[in-house]
Symmetry: C3
Amino acid sequence: MEFTAQQIAELIQGEIEGNAEQVIRDVSKIEEGRRETLTFLANPKYEHHIYNTDASVVIVNKSFTPEKPIKATLIKVEDAYQALAKLLQMYESSLPKKTGIEQPSFIADDAQIGDFVYVGAFAYISEKTKIGKNTQIWPGAFIGEGVEIGDDTIVYSGAKIYKHCKVGNNCIIHSGAVIGSDGFGFAPGPDGDYQKIPQVGNVILEDLVEIGANTTIDRATMGSTIIRRGAKLDNLVQIAHNVEVGANTVIAAQTGVAGSTKIGKNCMFGGQVGIAGHIKVADGTKLAAQTGVGGAIKKEGTTLMGSPAFNAMEYNKSYVIFRKLPDIYKQLQELKKKITEK
Amino acid sequence: MEFTAQQIAELIQGEIEGNAEQVIRDVSKIEEGRRETLTFLANPKYEHHIYNTDASVVIVNKSFTPEKPIKATLIKVEDAYQALAKLLQMYESSLPKKTGIEQPSFIADDAQIGDFVYVGAFAYISEKTKIGKNTQIWPGAFIGEGVEIGDDTIVYSGAKIYKHCKVGNNCIIHSGAVIGSDGFGFAPGPDGDYQKIPQVGNVILEDLVEIGANTTIDRATMGSTIIRRGAKLDNLVQIAHNVEVGANTVIAAQTGVAGSTKIGKNCMFGGQVGIAGHIKVADGTKLAAQTGVGGAIKKEGTTLMGSPAFNAMEYNKSYVIFRKLPDIYKQLQELKKKITEK
Amino acid sequence: MEFTAQQIAELIQGEIEGNAEQVIRDVSKIEEGRRETLTFLANPKYEHHIYNTDASVVIVNKSFTPEKPIKATLIKVEDAYQALAKLLQMYESSLPKKTGIEQPSFIADDAQIGDFVYVGAFAYISEKTKIGKNTQIWPGAFIGEGVEIGDDTIVYSGAKIYKHCKVGNNCIIHSGAVIGSDGFGFAPGPDGDYQKIPQVGNVILEDLVEIGANTTIDRATMGSTIIRRGAKLDNLVQIAHNVEVGANTVIAAQTGVAGSTKIGKNCMFGGQVGIAGHIKVADGTKLAAQTGVGGAIKKEGTTLMGSPAFNAMEYNKSYVIFRKLPDIYKQLQELKKKITEK
């Protein structure tokens, strides 16, 4: 690729400060910027790099005021991160897309395959499935019986979708993700052995959902486990049976949600969070990494921390004192002694 | 499907209260109950739904006494959850089962394949393997050299079993599970580089074991990593080399057990639990979610919590005070001041 | 196999105490030692087994002084664990290695495949890839477009490597590992919907890296996510985009590292550790299992614990008092009462 700063600025409606004719041929991170590359500054933590970067063009927020001279050409936009997203999306959509059916693959006779679909070699598409147009099923992916997948969705190599699950439009399912495995349900018998509760429900992913690599989403015992429109799940996340994840909720890696819990919309969970079963989590809840939620969260928009979780600011206050506990204990013993001596 | 309440009651030895001729055509969750569906009530948390549900028939415990009138027909049994398990099992076993060898698949010449086995397309069955009768190897599964699998076992799509592992009868291994990967063993060399300790043991799954999606069980350095009869492992669980998991022990998602630890029978671990290596965990131990076990648990049947773990009731008592720490600290400083002033 | 103690001693430059002609035919764990097997003692926790083991030959450290008579023949070496590593490596390298291309597999016309490579059935090797000599690509593995893999590397069954990633020499990638999935990057839009930031970077694994089963390593947004020479990652680890893991750093199972964090060399992390994004972790840092690191670790060689993490010894001291909190609270109230009464 080769663009001028001027061309980039037009694509993202930005204002140029510096050499509008500056050419860029690649992108780079600001801390590793190379000549003739484009980079961006959004996180203030990285601001000091802008004064030394060798990148030739930097997209910045309009609100950014340099403290020192900058040799790179700047493109000022309302939101540098969004502008970058837009640019990279344009770049990606300019790349050629795979279509067609590679051999050997396995496609059941009654599978309905839309136009411009890509089916990679060793992909398996079962009976009674429907695959929408422009959708890509990468090599080695497995699509179970009766599964329906919408348009413009990508199922990467080796992802598995068990029978009767439904996937919307514009979804991305990364390699190794498992959608629709059995929920973890057993009835304890009198002899200590467990009876399996067959899981006869499914999983529904609505539109614009992204599922990370090796994430697992169990099918419902009855009814559906549901991931609502626009929700984004990172890698190695566990979603148990009958859970519901609200629209545009973002869940970082290695988080687990136990059975039948309903998570609201616009939530943000850090990594390694655990959420108990059969509870409701209010819209807009934020959970710090490694938080453990044991009970319902009723108030919208709160930030929690700790295990069991409570208000994050209060957790931090308590934790500061936790670190002083040996000293506090000593002080208390001294006080007791003093008082007893009196 | 179509049954009357009477027919269902006979299958599960229940007693009818209401319309014995009521027809049901599907199952549903009590909170989403629809007309002409069967549902159940086991968890008291959901009791309030029974007074409003549109489900036509509800299986309940004999001990359940309604507080208000219920329009649905009730079927009363000793244990509603077990009765449901039994019904759903009857339903599942009535579905047609896959058998036969799909093409293309890879089956070594000397593999021994039992009667009524299903081998899906792209499944790989190595040399010197034995696959018992009625066992299903789904598409894309990998069965390593010398692996033995019993009868009536299901290995779902894309599960991987490394060489020399043994799987019993009536096991279920979900998609993406990896059985027999190398244990994590390295000997530090003088130059800081690590020497790999080749892992020459295997993994043994006894009968009636269920392994969740993307769970990993490492082979032993020498000898065997063993999952005993009836143990159930949820998704994304990590079992390190030389671990032993006792019979009928249930391990929830994202739990990890470090090397050479021996876990007793009838244990129940919540999600995201971590257990250190080279320790013993007594029979019947219960661990709350996110517990971290650093040392042996000797007393049978205790419930632990926290990291490092101790008695759950005491943990909760301490945690209540943890939340008051800023206030306690303040009180202590005031007391000190008072005493010094005196 | 069949060796005498004498032969083994020569291979590992050890000194024999006992019967040099003793024959061994297999290896075993010391606690399960059987006649005519070889075992070892390195961890002092297992010392008591040496006095009862039925194993015929035991490799021990030179520094080991028995407290009681031992019936087994001893082979004394500088470092028993390293000597075992060496022996098992010799054993493994004596086993026949798979080479050749199995059918059906998918290899793009322009893929460059080195000598003595093994490509298993159902493996998929994309366009513009380079696979070095002696490298093994097991059944069902996926190698994306433009991927380069060095010599003597093993990619086990069902591992997936996305486009443009680079893997060095002598690496091992276990089943189900996903290398190069998209980093988790989204720009929040004004309507609450998220815009995907296309991830145009890659992942680089340097030489001698081992990646555990079902571990996930995301590609960089721009530039590279890098795992340096000799680093060892256990199963189910999550490495986010733009992370760097230093040389010879060892990361136990289920640990997660958030985006753009730089981890030094020679670190050791226990299981289920979580590390926040955009920070630096100094060389030689040790983290106890379940530690949560929220900020930079600047001092080399420290051991941390807790969430948020601090010095492990201090954490333990505080935690001891945490367990006494209910009692401390009571004492404090009594003191207050006493003082007020005075």
